[in-house]
Amino acid sequence: MVEVALTIPPDVVFIAFATVTLLAAILALQAKELIYGAIALGASFAGIAGMFILLDAPYLAMLQIAIYVGAVVVLILFTIMLVRREEGEEVTEQRERGEGAAGLWIAGLLAVAIAGVAALAGPNLPSTPPGNALPVSQLGPALVTQYPVPLLILAFLLSAALLGAMMLAKVER
């Protein structure tokens, strides 16, 4: 008999999550129907939540799913259904020649540059995380004792966003 430890192989899981995230992000931008795009965006966010789990931040992962997949995607779906034309036509993506290629070129160049710099700096970066991750209960004290001012600013941001969006969307009479 050969004894094998039953653990998550981090490489395989990481590659799986990264593939899901990137492919879904591409699909979110390229899908024909906006509804499919919104679903793909949700899948991409779920993949990022998986990466947060790998990074030992499970609370962040759950936050990501609850806020993005649970709330923002609902809002996006709602808006998509509100802005449909009466005859049921989606907005088409007509594009001038060369535009797509130029965008792809710039974006690819930027991404490759960042990734290249990171890879060059790779040997100087820590390759393994320090032993134990901090437990979830560390998040609350950091939130209210170290960063209380952002919390209060967040209250203003939330109220401004709520009232602003509502005032924008309401019908003028």
Partner: protein, 122 residues
């Protein structure tokens, strides 16, 4: 013997897939290949009326403010949970910040509700 909980959850997810994929592949395997077009059978169900127009019409705006409020309070709820787990470890005067946070959000919520519940706004 305790397994990594996330590994246990992923095994559980795979098992659910094994149980449910056969159930939902049945329409693909049995039903869809033998379908014949029948416009009367495939008509949307409207209690015997002949459907008029597109069903995916632009939906009523009046639900929109509540979805908006949900997004805002989703965020608030997640912040409150992060504070709630470690309530006993935090000195009480630090928890005052959360009280101020909620009070600051109270007035906008009341006004937003007032706007949302007035039918002529939407």
């Amino acid at each position: 013997m305790a397994l990594n909980p996330w590994l246990a959850i992923s095994i559980f997810a795979l098992v659910i897939l094994l149980f449910t994929i056969p159930l939902l592949s049945l329409p693909y395997l049995i039903v869809f290949p033998r379908r014949k077009e029948n416009p009367f059978r495939d008509m949307p169900f409207e209690s015997g009326q002949v459907p008029q127009g597109d069903a995916r019409h632009r939906l009523a705006m009046q639900y929109y403010p509540f979805v908006l409020m949900f997004v805002v309070f989703d965020v608030v709820g997640m912040f409150l949970f992060a504070w709630g787990i470690s309530f006993s470890q935090i000195p009480l005067d630090s928890s005052l910040v959360v009280l101020i946070f909620l009070v600051l959000l109270g007035a906008p919520l009341a006004y937003a509700l007032r706007l949302a519940l007035r039918r002529e706004n939407w």
